[in-house]
Amino acid sequence: MARRGSRVQAMTDALRLRRSMRMIVLGSVMILLPSMLLAYFGISSIQGEELAVMDDVKAQAERSASAFMSQLERPFTNFESSVLDRLEAGRSPLEAPQELHSRVLVGLKLDSDLTVVAPFYRSAFKAQEPIDFLFDVAVQRAVAADRRDEDSVVVSRLYAQAARQTQSMQTQARMLFDRARLLEQSGRVGDSRMVLDEVVSKYGNVRDPWGFRMEDLVSLYRAEGRMVQNPLIGADDLRILVDRVMGRRWAIGKGGEGAVARRALSRLEPFADTEWVAATRERIDDRMRMLFWAEKLLPELDAVLAGQRNFSVDKGKLRWVEGDRGLWALTWWGEDLYAFALDRRRLIADARSMAKDVSQPGSPVRGMLLNPDVTAPKEALSRRSLVPWMVGWSMVVVPRDAQALQENLTMRRNRRIGIIFLAIVLIGVGGMSTARFVRTELDSARMKADFAANVSHELRSPITQIRLKAESLMLGLSDTPEEQARDYHSIVRESERLSRLVDNVLDFSAIERGAKTYALVPGDLGDSVRTAVEAVETSAELVERDLFVRIMPDLPIVAHDADAIAQCVINLLSNAAKYSDPDKPIRLEMVREREGVTIRVIDEGIGIPEADVQQIFEPFFRGGDASVRRRKGTGIGLAITFYIVSAHKGSVDVVSKPGQGSTFSLWFPALSGDPIQRQGV
């Protein structure tokens, strides 16, 4: 039987379960879905932000690297184009090469045999040829005779003898030049001029031990001598000398041309155009600097060219080859090879400085130059190779402070995760609050729906009885007068039941609207209760029950509304009958308590679960127990009772044990003060 009964219960439960499942699904959708979406997009956002930060840093690194390369390339490309432009224009790129690139040390032109042809040449001249001691003695003898003004034939013979004592052209040339000066000092100007002519004709291209070319020395000597006689003419001679020297190739390893040009320039400076002097001095200095580097770098050039003997370059291009000291730019132009040495060390220093300065001070990145022996750090964000100028060298951009960057990312990530977590918690709390609110509302709605159903049922039951009894009388089902009397009596009783129910509902409605008022009249509460009991003891619920009433004498006067008190008593007695077996007695007691009167209704019924005790005075509440729900009732009787007692400034108490019964106590304060009060609820 229990199995059969459970089937219907299962159907009822299934309807409720479906509603609960809908709530659970709705709750899940409300909480889980937004949480998952938030978590998904939050994590994506974190990743996106991290990527964005890294992208930003990388972009800055790229910009820095590009700026560096642009800065580095520009002088090189300018140099390339300038060299080629000059060549195209027929101008020598070897003149003032610093205009082409500030780090140019020397520019050389070589022929197809890779022999230096401009602006210098390699000289086979040895700085100091060995001294011939015999020559030295002989020449001193000749000089001594010359100073003594001995016979010119004798002196000439002595000089010729001295000249035969040496094979050195250098020595011979110098000896003649010294003799010419000696002759001039001794006033023999004509002889001196003749000797100087001989020096020029015989030894013009010979260089003295200090590298001076004899012709240049003679020209300088003569011009200076002329300066004494006629400065303007002398200055012209010196200018011609300077132009000649500058227009000629200089010998590598010899500084004679430069020294002659500088001296000539300093002598003629007071008589020459200032700009010309300045420009010429600069040209001389350039030439001398290049000469210095040409001498230093020739071995390196030889080594470079040894490895590049058959190289070819596209027209309009330079080929870059690294030496130890110089960075060599090579290009063929016709049959000629142009080689420029740039100061490699300075270039590296420049590049290092450039790499360091390429990022702004506040930038999260910094640049650094790496030589070929160093591997790039793993945190490198961008890298540029310095090919073709410096093979193996590279410029890398790294975070200025990698640890700080990582800490920044970690901090941002943790903050985002915290916010997401907080948002999820808030969604959860909000969802749960909403679910609780919805559940409360649903419970309330269900209770109200139950109330409507219960009221409907409670109204229909007496109406049904009244109608049936009326039909019974009408159809003649009641044969005897006794039966008819019973039917009439039943109609009256059910009408009273109906009336009580309607009163309860209307009172409740008025209480809900705040419109219910009670006329509190001082009087004997016992009398009111007694009257109520007499009215209800013959009702359908109590007519067959054992009802014991015990009202203590001399109860204090209580200001009360007799009808309302009757309503309370009837509600409590009706409940006691409803929730206890018919053979169990019901007791009503009235006693003096705490300066007031307590009405106590005691039954031995099913009792109230502890969890429900706090709620039984709430409207519509009918307990969670199925055994309670099956009993007929509206769920407002106790709520009305509570309102009525509260309106009398009394209190309600209930003591109950499931399975043993319940005791409801209504306490009303004894009267003190105004005999008639109107109390609104």
Partner: protein, 235 residues
């Protein structure tokens, strides 16, 4: 006339229903609890069951079965006759549960007795009418349109339409002395005064099928020169 089971906890309602439907010639069984209802169905197999839902009173009290559960239990035990709910519960949910439990009709209180009667008749018509099932100790007599037979514990005795009509007339007029002319007129439709042995022949056959002893009859007693009297009481 049908055999009707009313399950109703309100004594006065049950009394009025019983009185009304008995007056209409039905056999009425009343029950105030589910246990009583199941016992009655098992024993008398009524033609229709009318159930209240809220059954508050009775020995089992509110913890016993409600009308929905009784309906479900009846269907589980193989009761295939119409079931009607007669209740003050009017909600749609209650109606759905009622029909799901196996009800054929749902009438809400208050109701009209004649209308309820017509509803019951209509339901019976749909299932072929009342079965006219009678219990006499171990013997079960079924006189409905679908099955006409006397069911003995050790075998069935099928009845012809005339025999069934004769036995039904006897049962419905149990205790009354019925003359041959009355039987001819009411069962055969002949006018009185027709001389025929057909009544005696059919009574003999029915008695034989009831396995009744003419010397010591349990069912049909012969009153010589007067007629017959059906003396058995349902149990």
């Amino acid at each position: 006339m049908a055999r009707i089971l009313f399950v109703e906890d309100e004594t006065e309602v049950l009394g009025t229903l019983t009185k009304y439907f008995e007056r209409q010639g039905n056999t009425v069984h009343g029950a105030r609890t589910g246990e009583d209802a199941l016992a009655i169905v098992e024993k008398f197999q009524p033609d229709v069951a009318v159930l209240d839902v809220m059954l508050q009173e009775g020995p089992a009290g509110p913890d016993g079965m409600n009308g929905f559960e009784i309906c479900s239990a009846l269907r589980d035990m193989g009761f295939d006759r119409p079931i009607l709910f007669l209740t003050a519960r009017t909600s749609e949910e209650d109606k759905i549960i009622g029909f799901d439990a196996g009800a054929d009709n749902y009438v809400t209180k208050p109701f009209s007795l004649p209308v309820l009667e017509k509803r019951i008749e209509a339901m019976l018509k749909r299932v072929g009418g009342a079965r006219y099932l009678y219990h006499f100790g171990d013997i079960k007599v079924e006189l409905g349109p679908n099955d006409m037979a006397i069911h003995h514990p050790n075998g069935d005795e099928p009845l012809s339409k005339r025999e069934a009509a004769l036995l039904k007339f006897f049962i419905e007029n149990r205790g009354l002395i019925l003359s041959r002319d009355t039987l001819l007129e009411r069962v055969w439709g002949y006018r009185a005064g027709v001389a025929t042995r057909t009544v005696d022949t059919h009574v003999l056959t029915v008695r034989k099928k009831l396995r009744d002893n003419a010397q010591e009859p349990q069912f049909i007693r012969t009153l010589h020169g007067v007629g017959y009297q059906f003396i058995a009481e349902e149990s």
